[in-house]
């Protein structure tokens, strides 16, 4: 059969191969609201840290933990209902991007909070978490697009 196949038919088959793999990759697309939800939860935690009363800690920490579990559970559950994207598609640059993003958010937020406190700013943790939450909300979709591009580039038939 391969002898009778035209290059055009082979190209069509390759197109189908790529399209089907893309359908799996698109399953792990994280909705934009997820990043803003996590960003908001970080701000809630920051408020608790600044107020520092037992009541504030007792409310904000559970809201943060339960909220984080809920949004992550929803996103992961949605993706895993259909298929699990092959780990190797993410590759080194993809994993490093995720780790780098988390490091920037966590490190930047904590660093900024200490800097603001040293400068005598009121509610330093809240302000720092607000900045961290903004970076999360704005940067998350960018990270998402980048990871998608990495995975599409690593799928079979992509030319690499």
């Amino acid at each position: 059969m391969s002898e009778q196949m035209s290059p055009g038919e082979a190209a069509q088959a390759l197109d189908e191969v790529q399209r089907r793999q893309q359908q799996v990759i698109d399953l792990v697309a994280i909705p934009a609201w997820y990043w803003w939800a996590v960003g908001g939860l970080i701000v809630v935690l920051g408020i608790g840290v600044d107020i520092r009363t037992p009541a504030a800690i007792g409310i904000t920490v559970p809201v943060f933990v339960v909220g984080l579990l809920a949004v992550n559970g929803w996103v992961i559950g949605r993706a895993y209902r259909h298929a699990q994207v092959r780990n190797e598609l993410l590759d080194g640059p993809g994993v490093l991007s995720i780790l780098g993003f988390v490091a920037v958010i966590v490190g930047g937020t904590i660093g900024l909070a200490f800097t603001l406190r040293a400068a005598g700013v009121h509610y330093p943790a809240t302000w720092a978490c607000l900045a961290g939450g903004l970076v999360m909300g704005l940067g998350g979709p960018v990270l998402n697009r980048w990871l998608r591009r990495v995975m599409l580039g690593n799928r079979a038939g992509s030319g690499r």
């Binding site: 059969m1 391969s2 790529q18 893309q22 298929a83």
Partner: protein, 103 residues
């Protein structure tokens, strides 16, 4: 071993779609494959059985809570055959001087 091998079994349109989905997955749910490829339960079962008998696909039946769940995954042999098949397709296109741009 050649770096490219045209695989007649994989190349059948429906099976190419199924194997391509599985190639990007660690595993995929039966219903997901069925709905994505647009097959009936019996047609997908038939195709998966063919791929399983060739040693390309592994089918697992289990439960999520009380619901039965069937998943499929490419075996190592299946993944290797798929990659060789894709390489064969790429060679055919390359020989013609055309290029395939990633979507």
């Amino acid at each position: 071993m050649s770096a490219a091998h045209f695989d007649e079994l994989i190349h059948a349109p429906t099976r190419l779609a199924i194997v391509s989905l599985l190639a990007a997955s660690e595993w995929a749910d039966f219903k997901f494959i069925r709905d994505t490829v647009g097959l009936s339960d019996s047609a997908l079962s038939k195709q998966l059985t063919t791929l399983e008998e060739t040693g390309y696909v592994e089918i697992r039946k289990g439960f999520v809570g009380k619901r039965p769940r069937t998943t499929a995954r490419l075996t190592r042999a299946g993944r290797a055959a798929f990659e060789l098949h894709v390489a064969a397709l790429q060679e055919m296109v390359a020989r013609s001087g055309a290029t395939i741009l990633p979507r």
